[in-house]
């Protein structure tokens, strides 16, 4: 205990030096935490699960995928045939129909453009990544459930992401007020762009997505979307909207295990109904991997260059600080030896000081990063593939502490060895 107290007291002896070391550790751990948070999320979504499989069905060859809406009914059943009792059904499913519109057709830009998803409102609570019961709890869950309930009741309702809401306030609110007060009930119109040109949809906000992953996302009733498609010919001389025949983008299927997945793959591949266009079913992890493939070099750079370089820089900064500290305390170390401290105890003393500082600084840095980034900014804004923001996982606390302590340990090995080599006779000869 006295030994630990000595370590603690040594840390406080040169407060400026310790403070600089702690600050250096904190900022470098911040970078590592941010980088690893992005990579950890990507690893998680591209990792094949052992249970609760999610699969994506989409058009086999073309991107973006466009399937007939009729496919939804068949795919929701996993293409199970009625007269084949051995065919199985997915546990759950969700249809996605994409829609892109702008608030200002004349001056279209990134800020006034919104990406929307037409879907079955109930499925937002069970099939959307990060919004399921196990991932969204407490007050946020209750608020989101209320929003979904309103969406079911409001034909032209829409649940909107935070960034879109801010832009909406700034653009159609005709005000600089970008706060999120009382958005519920607010109405706006989105004019379809790109392949959705001609579809002008009026919406009423019924809720807001929890901050983070869905900040640049909106979701609305698929019935409303289909009704707009159906109404289009009436306003355009009987001509159907170009998307009318094929406006189903994806179907998500949830299955309990690998065997069920394999069985449903067989059913879908064998279905004669799903032939024109052909469809493919793949695990969500595989689909995400395909979308992330163009970024593989960038991600490799983050994983193998940026994060390691940060850790090495941290180790260098710490090694420098500890070696300075050891050099300045040679006389004191010599006295300790005279007093009977063994070399191993001196090594542990030096290592203990640096590891203590690294551990605390790393933990604090990761904790502050977790709180500020998640609660203040709604995640790390790093637009890659279709991921908008990356939340800092709670594991970051463990990473921060480990990186801080690990780098401190590595950085102080040589100074500690140098410290235990101090020879009292040489030191006192010079002092004399």
């Amino acid at each position: 205990m006295k030994y630990l107290l000595l370590i603690y007291k040594n840390v406080g002896r040169n407060l400026l030096r310790s403070l600089l070391m702690v600050m250096g550790t904190m900022v470098l751990v911040l970078v590592v935490t941010l980088v690893w948070s992005v990579l950890a999320f990507i690893d998680k979504v591209t990792e094949e699960k052992s249970k609760d499989f999610k699969a994506i069905v989409s058009e086999r060859w073309s991107a973006p995928s466009r399937m007939p809406y009729d496919y939804a009914r068949v795919l929701a059943e996993g293409a199970a045939r009625k007269d084949h009792p051995e065919d199985i059904h997915p546990d759950d499913s969700m249809t996605w129909q994409f829609f892109v519109g702008t608030l200002d057709r004349e001056n279209m830009n990134f800020r006034n453009t919104m990406f929307g998803l037409a879907c079955d409102p109930d499925k937002l609570l069970t099939m959307m990544m990060g919004l399921e019961k196990e991932n969204l709890a407490g007050q946020q869950r209750r608020e989101f459930e209320t929003a979904v309930e309103k969406l079911k009741q409001t034909r032209n309702g829409i649940i909107i992401g935070h960034d879109h809401l801010k832009n909406l306030n700034a653009i159609i609110g005709n005000t600089r007020d970008t706060t999120l007060r009382d958005p519920i009930g607010r109405k706006f119109k989105l004019s379809g762009i790109s392949t959705f040109t001609g579809l002008d949809l009026e919406f009423e906000i019924v809720g807001v997505f929890p901050p983070g992953r869905y900040d640049n996302f909106t979701a609305f009733n698929r019935e409303y979307y289909q009704a707009a498609m159906d109404a289009y010919p009436g306003e355009h001389g009987g001509r159907q909207h170009p998307q009318a025949e094929r406006n189903l983008s994806l179907v998500w299927l949830k299955m309990p295990d690998r065997a069920s997945y394999n069985r449903i793959v067989e059913q879908i591949n064998a279905s004669s109904y799903l032939r024109n266009p052909e469809v493919k079913i793949e695990m969500a992890s595989s689909a995400f991997g395909r979308f992330l493939e163009p970024f593989r070099d960038l991600l490799a750079g983050m994983r193998w260059l940026l994060a390691p370089a940060c850790i090495v820089t941290l180790a260098l900064v710490l090694a420098n600080a500890i070696s300075i500290s050891v050099r300045e305390r040679r006389t004191e170390l010599a006295v300790m030896k005279v007093l009977g401290f063994r070399p191993l105890q001196i090594v542990l003393l030096v290592l203990g000081e640096s590891v203590l500082m690294g551990l605390v600084a790393g933990l604090v840095s990761a904790g502050v990063t977790y709180a500020v980034i998640n609660w203040g900014f709604g995640g790390v804004k790093f637009p890659i593939a279709f991921f908008d923001a990356f939340l800092i996982p709670i594991n970051a606390l463990y990473w921060g502490a480990s990186v801080g302590a690990g780098a401190a340990l590595v950085g102080s090995l040589f100074p500690a060895w140098f410290a235990c080599q101090v020879k009292p006779a040489e030191v006192f000869a010079k002092v004399g």
């Binding site: 900022v27 991107a63 790109s194 040109t197 266009p277 750079g301 940060c310 900064v317 420098n320």
Partner: protein, 444 residues
Amino acid sequence: MLYILFAISAAVVLVLLLLNRVPLSYTVRNLTVRWITSTLTVLAFILVVGLMVVMLAFTTGMKRMTEGTGEPANVLVLSEGADDEVFSNLDAGDVAEMERLPLVLRDAGGKRPVASRESYLIINQPVVNPKPGRPQGRFLQIRGVVDVPMAARVHNMQLLGEGKWFSQAGTQEDPNGNANAQTLIQVVLGEGVARELAVDRTPAETAAAHNQQRLDIGDRFTLGRRQCIITGIMKSSGSTYNSEVWGKQDVVAPLFGKNSITSLVLRTAGAAAAVQLRDDLKNNFKKASVIARLEKDYYAALSETSDQFLYSIVFVTAVMAVGGVFGVMNTMFAAISNRIKDIGVMRILGYARWQILVSFLLESLVIAIVGGLAGCALGTLCNGLSANSMASSGNGGGKMVVIELVVDANIWAAGMLLAVLMGVIGGLAPAISAIRLRLLDALR
């Protein structure tokens, strides 16, 4: 702006050197005496600056590629609302009418407009034997062109070596196949995608291939359910076409359910005429709603992604630099606490406080400049390496691209500016603390 800041920082260093009255050899000797500390600090600088150089080389490469794609005399026409070629659908009648506009260049005989009708599509290509950790499929960008020689002329595209453009039919008999076998689709590839597709080959196939780095003329690959044969490799390095597969429009587009023209590229007499044609299409072409853009503008807008990466790089570099500043501060505070008596003696010898401050600042700047130069040199090793990425205008869509990392003078200027800034900020506080010492205290 960057050069102005760099010039200012260089001027600051120069002024400090001119003002310096303490011999520079004293400053340098102090660094060499504490060589371990100095080396560790320099290494930290090298890492921070080197990393920034590599990251900036990535965004510079992407910017150069997007800005280098497209001809100034070309106008690209897409359907209204389509921010990306993949979302566009043009009516054949409208296309013919636009080709007849007077500003569109005509060929030598004056009969044909110099214009290229194209279908751009993205397809899913399964990867049969993916390497460990790689997905089982990839997206492939296909450009179906209606008139091959015309497309080559409009895009100023040439083929490498013995390559040939595909025939007007766009297909050929399989010399190894039987009479009932499907014909092979003739395609030409960008160098980047040719390298990417070569990754799918087994080691035995690679060993047997006449070009082991990439697919080459005569090689085959699968597109949808059909086999393709490569007739040429495009000289497309440094442009987004580097990642595209080009085939005959009426062969490749229907294969994936696309029957319409997505993009029309119109050649004019020059850049000024292109601007005129763009405005003419925007204001006077009433037959259909289309978006006409200068081809260069369209591709330059794809650099939105690199801008977003740039913001991230600036943030990461700034945070890492703060870490480096704390490191150099530590070093300099230690240097000062070791030399308190030196400072007292220097004061007795008649050196003014500011002269001592300059001396200490120069000491930290020497570390910064050495570390900055070495970091820039280390980062420059990445120059010319290629990397996959995505270029997008940020409104959906985008193109998968193979970019070449570029380290230029701007990056060196940015690297040295960062190093000098770190040196000045890290050295200033300790230097000030040094000159605040009272003479008697220093000598005690």
